[in-house]
């Protein structure tokens, strides 16, 4: 069976080393003293390549996310505020202990949605507070807030605001955000005193260091490879890594040689001091030194915020306009319905009658009818009461009217009758057995043959039928033969079928009233 084990660290002791273990303690000082250098050499040789790769990767990712955010800021017409956005991200990274890789996408989603730099900064701070309180990651929170800002509040349900789905829909985003912030108040401050925050700060520092080293490595290695971009750098890193591994394998004292080799190799290829080249160039701040530049940036920012505000106002106006148009349309529909009621014949008759010279009682009756037709229940009840009270001032008639039950079904008795009839039908019994009767002697004397349905004998004894000729049909013996005579000559069965079909078709196309009626389905 395979030896299933993973050895994480091992030491070569030789085959007989276990016998010499006791004696090895005497040489401990030297062994322990060398351990550090040997370990650093071997360990560093193994890790240098992977660390370099990780650093370059971290730098590439950081650069890509920064570019994405820069493009988003540019597209919003805030190109002069690039530096401010970057500064804000960097400050937030330090103060909140969140890496810029997380902050940038969050800021981008908020910026794209709101179109305002100040609003986005405010919402990002709010998102961090809510994220700390709820434990939900910042990217999700910022996306939910961005959605909420434009009225999609469905995603805010998971923050346990205590609001129902209907309330989430009806309340404004500002109200909901206020509730969320009040529930998460102090969470961000509390988090700053936790060990997790200290770890976050450490992670941020490590990541940043990695990015800076990665940037330096890309530039330096690109120059070493004689190019300027990341592809050249990757080639150089691979070459150097291979060289390092060879040195490690064959010499065993890796680090000193590697260092020497790397320095000599890189200095030779780069044509200068690599350390100087590795020093990161100071990035352009893109910040104008003149007051005019600041003015232009502020102007641009104000213009962008105004545009965003205007967009929102336009949206609200458009919504209001649509609602107003809908209300107007509903009013028109109601007016039209009212106008249509003028042409109701029953109402016309009642109105015509009301115009005539009629008694007060008749007038009340007509008004009551009109009220019933228009569905005015209160008025109809009142007028009915007036009529009944006019006929009997004691009020007994009105009381009697109120006590009359709902009109019954006049055909209800039919149901009972049908049920009774069905019952009687079911009780009827029929004798299903059959007993053959014996043939009477007088019938047998005249030649009637016994047997149910035996007709052959009687037909054979009949005289030829001269009164009703067969018109082409001949009968004889037990079999009946029918000959169909078709005009013209028919040779085969198929021809006969064709003829019949043709005749039927002609008949249907003849235009006779009966055919038309059949086709039109008048008989069915």
């Amino acid at each position: 069976m395979a030896d299933l084990r993973i050895d994480l660290a091992s030491e070569f002791k030789g085959k007989k080393a276990f016998k010499e273990a006791d004696g090895a303690v005497s040489g401990l000082d030297r062994a322990v003293g060398k351990l550090g250098k040997q370990f650093v050499g071997l360990f560093a040789a193994q890790k240098l390549y992977s660390f370099g790769k990780a650093s370059v990767k971290a730098f590439a990712q950081d650069e890509a996310s920064a570019r994405r955010l820069a493009s988003a800021v540019d597209n919003l017409g805030l190109s002069f505020s690039q530096t401010r956005v970057e500064d804000f991200i960097q400050n937030l990274e330090k103060s909140a202990g969140i890496t810029d890789d997380v902050l940038r996408p969050a800021m981008q989603s908020l910026l794209t949605t709101t179109g305002s730099l100040t609003k986005s900064q405010e919402l990002l701070n709010n998102a961090i507070q809510i994220s700390r309180a709820s434990g939900i990651d910042l990217a999700t929170v910022s996306q939910d807030l961005a959605n909420g800002y434009v009225g999609i509040t469905r995603g805010l349900k998971k923050y346990n605001t205590g609001l129902t789905q209907a309330e989430l829909k009806s309340k404004s985003f500002a109200d909901i955000l206020g509730i969320m912030l009040s529930k998460s108040a102090g969470a961000a401050q509390d988090y700053l005193s936790t060990t997790a925050y200290q770890m976050d700060v450490l992670t941020v520092a490590t990541d940043n260091a990695k990015e800076v080293i990665g940037k330096g490595l890309v530039e330096a290695f690109a120059k070493i490879a004689g190019g300027s971009d990341a592809t050249d750098a990757a080639k150089a890193i691979d070459n150097i890594a291979q060289a390092i591994s060879k040195v490690v394998v064959f010499t065993g004292t890796a680090i000193g040689l590697v260092e020497k080799f790397r320095k000599a190799y890189t200095n030779f290829l780069a044509g200068g001091d690599v350390n100087a080249m590795l020093a990161p160039n100071k990035a352009s701040s893109n910040r104008s030194s003149s007051p005019a530049g600041t003015y232009r940036r502020t102007q641009q920012q104000n213009a962008a915020e105004k545009a965003a505000l205007k967009r929102q106002q336009d949206l609200q106006k458009s919504l209001l306009k649509t609602t107003k148009a809908l209300t107007d349309e509903q009013k028109k529909q109601a007016a039209l319905k009212k106008a249509q009621s003028i042409f109701d014949l029953d109402q016309i008759q009642i109105i015509a009658a009301l115009k005539g010279n009629i008694s007060a009682e008749d007038r009340t009756r007509l008004e009551a009818q009109a009220a019933i037709l228009n569905g005015n229940a209160d008025l109809a009840t009142k007028l009915t009461k007036d009529i009944l009270m006019a006929q009997d001032s004691t009020g007994k008639l009105y009381q009697y009217f109120l006590s009359i039950p709902t009109a019954k079904n006049p055909f209800a008795y039919l149901d009972d009758w049908i049920a009774d009839f069905q019952k009687k039908l079911n009780s009827l019994t029929m004798n299903t057995s059959y007993t053959q009767a014996t043939l009477a002697p007088e019938l047998a004397a005249i030649g009637v043959v016994a047997g149910y349905g035996d007709y052959a004998g009687s037909v054979a004894n009949q005289s030829p039928n001269t009164l009703y000729p067969s018109y082409g049909m001949q009968t004889g013996g037990g079999d009946t033969v029918i000959n169909v005579q078709v005009q013209g000559s028919v040779i085969r069965e198929q021809e006969l079928i064709d003829k019949v079909m043709a005749g039927t078709q002609l008949s249907s196309l003849s235009g006779s009233p009966s055919q038309i009626g059949r086709i039109a389905g008048m008989f069915g």
Binding site: A2, R5, F12, K15, A24, V32, Q38
Partner: protein, 175 residues
Amino acid sequence: MPVKLQGAVALRKALAIVEPTLAKETSKEIASFLKPVVKNARGFLPSNEDAPSGWLKRSNAGGRWANRSYDAQEARKGITFKSTPSKPNRRGFVALASIFNKSAAGAIYETAGRKSGVTGNFTPRLGGQLVGKGQKMTGRAIFRAFEDDRGKAQDGVVKAIFKAKDKFDSMKDKV
């Protein structure tokens, strides 16, 4: 591949004799890096319900498969670690820290299909995922967990030994 150190076994022997407390601390620290890998590896083993039904323990089992049947509890118990130096292997290497998959069934689950591929009637029914670098370092449980760990345990073990060495050196200087 394990990291090769020199003098580490001697250091630990010396620690055990001169500074037993520090030796214990070192062992504990190494164990703290190995435990998560072991825990993760145990998690990759299938439950009895998920294992192929014909492979489970049967009362009337006999022959060569009698002691190779799968029992999740037994297989989990078989995945262990060791934070003290081992005996030298045939090539003369002493392991300073190791992770094991000792049970027969666990070993079958670990390695089935890593040479001939996931084919036939048995191996595809095992589920799991063969993960690792090279045939010898590929498996479904401990090798997969070790691969998922991305060298954290290995770095931790080396650092712990290095830390013990520093402490030992400083103690020595004081004396």
